[in-house]
């Protein structure tokens, strides 16, 4: 499956400035691997050594938080848009 990943500003040094990438994969974990093949080092920025996402990284598929689906095992369909978003405070 081919999906688009939006790259947030803090990661663009790793992507040579690119703000989006087209990647292959059937799940979020496969997407992250594919992204790391294109841009070596990006996985280390967003995942712990165990492979789990870092606590301040939120991942959305078409605007939906993957923690409400299957986390990094959430399945991906062709044409999905994936966002990597740093956690931000509010009110």
């Amino acid at each position: 499956m081919s999906a688009t990943v939006r790259i947030p500003t803090p990661l663009r040094k790793v992507t040579n400035g690119a703000d989006r990438a087209t990647v292959e994969g059937n799940s979020i974990s496969e997407i992250i691997e594919s992204l790391d093949n294109q841009f070596p080092g990006i996985k280390k920025r967003i995942c712990e050594d165990s492979g789990e996402l870092r606590s301040f990284v939120n991942v959305y598929v078409n605007g939906d938080d993957i923690r409400f689906s299957d986390g990094i095992h959430t399945s991906i369909s062709s044409g999905d848009e994936i966002s990597l978003v740093p956690a931000v405070a509010g009110g």
Binding site: R45, D65, G90, G91
Partner: protein
Amino acid sequence: MSYVTNLICRECGAEYKTQPLNVCEFCFGPLEIQYDFTKIKKDVSKKTISNGPNSMWRYSQFLPVDIENAIDIGTGFTPLIHAKNLGKQLGLDSLYIKNDSVNPTFSFKDRPVAITTTKALEFGFEVLACVSTGNLMGSVAAHGSKANLETYVFYPQDLELSKIYGAAVYGSKMIAIEGNYDDANRFCSELSDIYPWAFVNINMRPFYAEGSKTLGYEIAEQLGWKAPNHCVVPGASGELHTKVWKGIQEFIDCELIENVIPKMHLAQPEGCAPISSAFNSNSRQINPVKPSTIAKSLAIGNPASGPYSVDVLNQTHGSAEIASENSIIDSIKLLAETEGIFTETAGGVVISSLKELVKKGKIKKDETVVAFITGNGLKTLESMGEIKENTVSCMPNISSFDLVKSNFKI
């Protein structure tokens, strides 16, 4: 002059120069301001603070802006009231209400926004923007007016009308997002990558967050330069809870108050309690929720500072309360009827949690308690329902009045 040295990542310790940046590029952790505390300790005393203005700017040395540039609409140094009537009902001798609903836009948000607006001008931004559950946007809109900055505010579409009017009146550009706060927040994070604006709770967040520390300083000063035994703080993103604690800690570090550690209790509503739930199940990992609560100013299902709020609960031996939705309105009325303070639903959550803490024996009769009331009741009128029990209609004549008066049940 400012005592800021740089920005530092709370997770991995990477350091950055002072700039509008909120996320560590190595680990995505949030960035925080670092100060030269040796110098602050040398320059600041109880006397220098007491001689300062009657506003949050009396603590300017602890803030990341130059006071000469301050955008000041009169924020801070709000009353700390000895709540004798409510205390008597609950069996507490030293209960205090920090009434932060009397700030210029009627919530504590004026504190972080005053800092952010001042800093946005220092950085040369022309637009101030925010994502809001209601209180923040009123404050951003007002400060934007004072600073001659254009303002854009983004909010979940189901917000209370008075909060919408409370921002629109300042001429802010109002964008109702079709979704909840967390949807709006995610969207604006992406927007902030494209638009070169000062998003107060995104790229300006390290500066924004510092404003809430002034609540910690104020209660310590107002209690006669000492920390209370307990603080009861409402929880949305978890940022306020952590920053009130940080304020108290900094005063301890600078030897302005004794090293007494208050128990920092957190109050969340049943319909959105991801931080309390995590703490109560001994976890630091916050599982996000879809909020369903009348306390809309606390309706953040994906609280960014949740893990730090859990840390504060652990460090200070605080409790994380979950107020039932049914108890919120009764608690608003209780505070109004005993102390003459009309708070919004978040304050109802605080008072309900306070009652529970006393009932469970976690707060003792002779201990000093500060309950943080952070927003005004006129902002959440819709939640109050119809007021029937003490309202009658009457013809303008004596016999009609005598008749209705005898019908009053209260």
